[in-house]
């Protein structure tokens, strides 16, 4: 029982990181129609920049500055690569984000080398633990869950209550109409990239003490985050949270059934099963989503 609870919490922890990555996918996809294969790289960059800054700044400041830097980096990517290439085909978009993913990884490799690093624990240390209904948790797990919860709520408020958030939603549902009412759709797309990158960086910072930061961590995270986004239904950020938690839980519990070397296979198998059987997601409706031919 306690073991199951332990699995549950570890699943929810990684699941909330997948959820944030999935939300990042959603933000960019709905604003620009680009599925950003480099999404995992934002998480990696966030962790790496924060670790570097933390060597001479207090951790909270380092995290804040890292998130700001990666946000700007995300905006920069949109301005340099995607703004000019809007007329390109899907094939070209796929190719360019894959290329970016590799180049960012290689840059990280040359800037930070291939060592596995981590931020210090936000509170306590690796030995301290919090008892929660019988399971022993690292205080960092609370930080991860708390951050994910706050992010989701703030994002919801942003989209529903603020003018800027509403404008962004208008852009994704109908760019031409949004343009007609005076929204600068180009800037909205840049903002979407920035927001998505910033969220990814934040996730990269809070997860760093537990699961470490490594220059190669991006693609694995991206594909699991994508699995979460598909599970929830692409274009629905809140359903992505549920998707993320499901992927995290299945992955955590799969360890008790199959060898841990095959842990990743479980997540990828869910992705394939979802794509093949219900590409519109668990909560989406089949109509209006044109992911399939025929």
């Amino acid at each position: 029982m306690v073991q199951a609870l332990q699995y549950f919490f570890s699943g929810v922890t990684v699941g909330s990181v997948y959820a944030i990555v999935a939300i990042g996918f959603n933000i960019i996809y709905s604003a620009t129609g680009v599925l950003n294969f480099a999404q995992g790289e934002f998480v990696m960059l966030g962790g790496m920049v924060a670790i570097t800054l933390a060597s001479f700044l207090p951790v909270p400041v380092a995290v804040a500055v890292a998130v700001a830097i990666v946000t700007l980096f995300g905006c920069g990517l949109e301005l340099v690569f995607f703004r000019r290439l809007r007329s390109h085909s899907v094939l070209h978009m796929i190719i360019i984000t894959i290329g970016l993913s590799i180049v960012i990884q290689e840059l990280a490799l040359h800037v930070w080398d291939e060592k596995v690093r981590s931020l210090p624990y936000f509170t306590g240390n690796e030995a301290s633990s919090v008892k929660l209904v019988g399971a022993a948790l690292s205080p960092q797990v609370i930080w991860v869950l708390g951050t994910a919860g706050v992010v989701v709520m703030l994002l919801q408020l942003f989209y529903k209550r603020t003018l800027y958030g509403r404008a962004m939603r208008a852009c994704s549902s109908n760019p031409e109409a949004a343009m007609l009412v005076g929204i600068n759709t180009g800037n909205m797309r840049t903002a979407a990239f920035g927001l998505s990158a910033g969220l990814g960086a934040l996730a990269g910072c809070v997860i760093s003490p537990i699961s470490m930061t490594h220059y190669e961590m991006g693609p694995g995270l991206a594909i699991k985050g994508f699995a979460a986004a598909i599970l929830g239904g692409l274009g629905n950020p809140m359903a992505a949270v549920a998707g993320g938690l499901i992927v995290g839980l299945i992955e955590a519990f799969s360890v008790s059934v199959i060898p841990s070397a095959f842990k990743d296979v479980a997540a990828f198998a869910i992705l394939l099963a979802m794509l093949f059987l219900r590409p519109h997601g668990l909560f989406g409706c089949p109509s209006g989503v044109s992911v399939r031919e025929v």
């Binding site: 599925l35 690569f81 000019r84 894959i98 290329g99 180049v103 095959f262 990828f268 992911v291």
Partner: protein
């Protein structure tokens, strides 16, 4: 697009270039360059297969590395797995009677090693890969664009995890000690005595594949493929059986990847799980883009050259970065492929000096 280019002059040029390269390397005393060239030519076969799928039919696959690895591992496993313990079993005796079991002495302790004959393993490798491609391609190819890319990437990662996690397949070390593949006096093997011969075998296979694919894309099937690339709905409406055709092309490209994987495994006398990594699949994608997407000769030339340089270590620690930059640069600067873009620029340059004559752009 000019589809009726005569192919024979180009083939002659390829053959002549291959011979000149071999002769000049031998004359310069740098025969060992041929080893990496041979490997590069095998990788180019994978790229030509992907060019057919991506450039002509417009379907992305990030699973080519996995198909390559399935082919290579099948060959490696069947030709190294000792079946001496099965002697006496009915199926084993039957296989033995058919003459498809070969025996050799273990190098270290002189025990008898009985394995499947390499030529049969080669055929099985291709067949197995084609079956897997059909199973995975049937549902995947109903997806479009980003979703197809993600599905094939997910499939590739699953294969990668399985190869790394299976002790029977050597886990992280892969399989070594794979014997050569010899058919009628020709041997695909890494022995330095047959280095020159193997260089020509690789080129012969690559040119045969090129001829085959050229004929395919200039046939009725090729026109149907280009119709799918431009608009799947329109192709469907014109009576093209799009799901069937896409699946067939997917299987052909997987078969070519498996063939190259199997041959290269025999040539390298082994294979490791890194062949199935996402980086490898992305590298094939970059090479197709660098070759000009729907350009088989371009794919052959560019990938042979770039893979050769990469294997020689020219790019140093920037090996992966080079391929990433190629992907970005091609899309940002020359979405039509480097050769056609070069032609466009040259036309524009010429038209500056010939007033009254419009710069002619290549048809997209």
């Amino acid at each position: 697009m000019n589809t009726t280019t005569r192919i024979w002059p180009r083939l002659a040029a390829f053959a002549a270039a291959a011979i000149v390269i071999q002769l000049s390397l031998s004359a310069a005393g740098k025969v060992y360059y041929l080893t990496q060239l041979t490997m590069a030519v095998y990788y180019a076969i994978v790229v030509m297969g992907l060019s057919l799928l991506m450039g002509y039919a417009g379907q992305v696959s990030l699973g080519q590395g996995a198909f390559f690895a399935i082919g290579g591992y099948t060959s490696a496993f069947l030709t190294t797995h000792n079946m001496a313990g099965y002697r006496g079993a009915v199926w084993f005796d039957l296989l033995d009677k058919c003459g498809v079991i070969v025996s050799r002495k273990n190098l270290y302790d002189d025990t008898l090693v009985l394995t499947v004959a390499p030529w049969l393993a080669f055929i099985m490798a291709i067949l197995l890969t084609v079956v897997i491609a059909a199973v995975i391609g049937y549902p995947s190819l109903r997806l479009r664009g980003h979703y197809l890319a993600m599905a094939t990437l997910g499939f590739g990662l699953i294969i990668h995890c399985i190869l790394i996690g299976s002790p029977a397949l050597g886990a992280a070390d892969g399989i070594t000690g794979v014997p050569g593949l010899s058919v009628g006096g020709l041997a695909v093997s890494g022995k330095s005595a047959v280095r020159v011969q193997n260089y020509y075998i690789a080129w012969a296979v690559a040119i045969a594949v090129l001829v085959l694919l050229r004929n395919l894309v200039e046939s009725r099937m090729g026109r149907a493929l280009r119709a799918i690339h431009d608009s799947e709905a329109a192709a469907s409406a014109m009576g093209v059986n799009t799901p069937k055709l896409k699946l067939e092309v997917f299987m052909v490209s997987a078969a070519l990847a498996a063939m190259a994987g199997s041959l290269l495994t025999h040539y390298n006398e082994g294979i490791g799980p890194s062949e199935s990594s996402a980086f490898k699949s992305v590298r094939y994608l970059a090479l197709v883009a660098a070759g000009g997407m729907a350009n088989l000769e371009g794919a052959l030339v560019v990938s042979t050259l770039l893979v050769f340089l990469s294997l020689r270590g020219w790019f140093g620690t920037y090996d992966n970065a080079v391929f990433g930059i190629i992907l970005i640069a091609i899309v940002a600067l020359a979405p039509q492929g480097p050769f056609r873009q070069l032609g466009l620029w040259m036309n524009r340059y010429r038209s500056l000096y010939k007033p009254g004559k419009e710069a002619r752009g290549g048809a997209s």
